[in-house]
Amino acid sequence: MKTRKIWALTLVLALLIGAMGGVTGSFSAKAEEITFPLAEPITLTAWRVAATSDPKLGITTYNDIEAVQAWEKATNVHIEWQIPPSGQEQENFNLMIASGDYPDLIFDVAQYYVGGLDKAISDGVIVPLNDYMDNRLSDYNALISRNETVYKDCKTDEGNFPAVYFINTPDQGPWYGMAIRQDWLDELGLAAPVTYDDWHTVLKAFKDKYGSKSPLWLNYHAGDVFSVFSAGYGVSVLGASGAGFINVDGTVKYSPIEDGYRDYITMLHEWYEEGLIDPDFYSNTTATYIPPDDLWATGNAGAWPDIYTLLDIRPYMGADENNKDMNVVPIAAPVRNEGDTLHLRQYNFTRGTNACAISTACKNPELAAAYLNLGSKQEYAWLAYYGVEGDTYNVVDGKPVYTDKILHNPDGLSASDAMTKFCFRSAGMYIWDRELQTAGPKALSAINDIWPSNADGNYMMPNITMTSDEANRYSVLMGDISTFVEENTTKFILGSRDLSEWDSYVQSVKSMGVEEAVSLQQAALDRFNGR
């Protein structure tokens, strides 16, 4: 109670000072420069998803993070955070929007605002930033102007700059791809498989030699979240980025009714019969990115899609006695014929879905914009992503390098936990490559060489947006279609529906209106390309 009163008082004082500042012309006049730290402290409110829900880090609000405190000192802007309970972010966000009681800054808005950010603007929730791009947000503007794709990604169909996005700086390689047990390949004297036929031979050998329950692990959509494994057939699976839709040189296609999908499913059906994929694959709906521990850690899986930073540490993540010496290496995605180039993989998205917007309730959007601009300046971005110089990082050869407080934390925290505890992510420059400092050699070869080696992401759908009418119609159509496709994909693979019925399956999907859904996606893609 007492602290709340103090906050309220601070806020009132801050507003008063702000108003007085306006009179003397310190920052409300347009031409005036806003310099940080501000002469007088000010408080802004912000909604943002929790940094962590891990109790051992002892972080309940962003203000517990040392880098946030350092930011406050460097800016003289205090943020009062509204943090939704983990797991209930969407509900909490919806209620906040529905109640009409918005904080000054809304983080993660692009992820949670249903119907897209153009709608958030026309709904009167957030303000477009177009007017500030040349002045208050000049550094952000410079950041996104570095190439055309980034610029297009940060603009909406209607030409708005709705929020300050987290821009991947530098560009990011694929952090997700196939991995295989090299130690098994060595023991069996087998070469790394290239084509699907090679994979078949290898998986069969895994099965025979090690009795693996699931020589190849795929998730319950019979693939993986970036369609890496199905890329050889040129198709995306459900549950993957794009939800089955692919962008073939500007034309949208729905993979699950393509011939390639049939061939892919036919292959998996044979593999299922031979016991080469997890017999229970369809029933584990929680493991989507990577295999559950009871498969990979126990020698029940020999190959699976993986995340690059995990490759080096797999043996220490709980592998059992017999598999303590596992050597998991990245491997290029399989192809149908040697030399094929693939077009589906984890794509170099230029920005994350994270973004921070200024709400219509913000009393001083000029100041808020100037504040958000800071994340696009290197010194402030470093302060956020690397923490306080001399404490959590040092500059070596002009580059920030974490100290042992992060890399070998004295309290025994892992490097990624220590980053969460001491640093935070600011909007603007998203310095994702800080995590490369903790990555091992396999991780680096995966992201830089092996996974991009035979694949580009040209078929991936970009960050399109639909209008709310389109989105409503799309959801009505796709709700039924996805259920039908999911169900029949499983049945075809298990053999409870025969693949001779493929044509009637395609007919059913079409009769459910898939062409209309494709045209909705196409319209959104065309608008995106025309931005």
Partner: protein, 296 residues
Amino acid sequence: MKIKASPSRIAFLIFNYCFLTLLGLAFIVPVWHVVMASFSDAAKLTSHTGIVWWPLGDMNLGGYRIVLSSPSIGTGYANTAFYVIVGTTISMVLTIMGAYALSRKTMKYRNVFMLFISFTMLFNGGMIPTYMVVKNVVHMYDTRWAVIVPTAISVFNLIILRTGFQQVPESLIESAKLDGAHEWTIMFRIIVPLSKATIAVIILYYAVGLWNSWFPAMIYLKGRDKYPLQLILREILLLNDTGVMTTSADAVKNVQLERNLVKYCTIIVSTVPIMCFYPFIQKYFTKGVMIGAVKG
């Protein structure tokens, strides 16, 4: 007075004890599994299949250390205690009043009111309208009352209690009335004492409900200092969720060896206190409560 047991009676009794013992085992084995798993070694637990009969590896409190190290767990327990005690009291007072009034046959329009109340069991305005009422009409947003008051009455419990009240012979009420007792007196001096067992059940229902409740807190509370235990524990449970990952760093964070272990420990931490409450309720289920009251 001892009734001589017939052979079929003995056969039944033997069957009954055997059957109930088996049933009891069926209940206890999975619970045992949860308890033993919570003391296990994280790595061994992950690769184990089947029932955990005894802690795997060395007896281990690592999972509990993680759960209990949460900075808000202490306030969580305190808040939940407040919600359970104050909430159950408010709920019981309102429910008893409603059930009593609607059980009284002298009230001509009680069926209309019954309908009025039952209707709300089937139709509700949904989350957002309710939220707006709590926020803008009764101004309970971000107060502890928001967790308790909007869900104070469960129609289901009210109806059960009313059914219980109706069992009390009308003659008792009549005679009390002749003695000049007010409705209030009849309610608390006659009806409530005679329905102890049912009231004990309803108290249990409300208390357990409030103990497990997290949704109203999630919706109506902004200040984390008011969060109940369950909401805090839910967040800890989420460690194990893969959810939507936007970057690889998120993914690594989500891969936690201890996640299975933490799940089991959370269960123990969150249920043991409320389970201890049960024996206090149980003692009201003894036979003859009614008789004693009537005769006395």
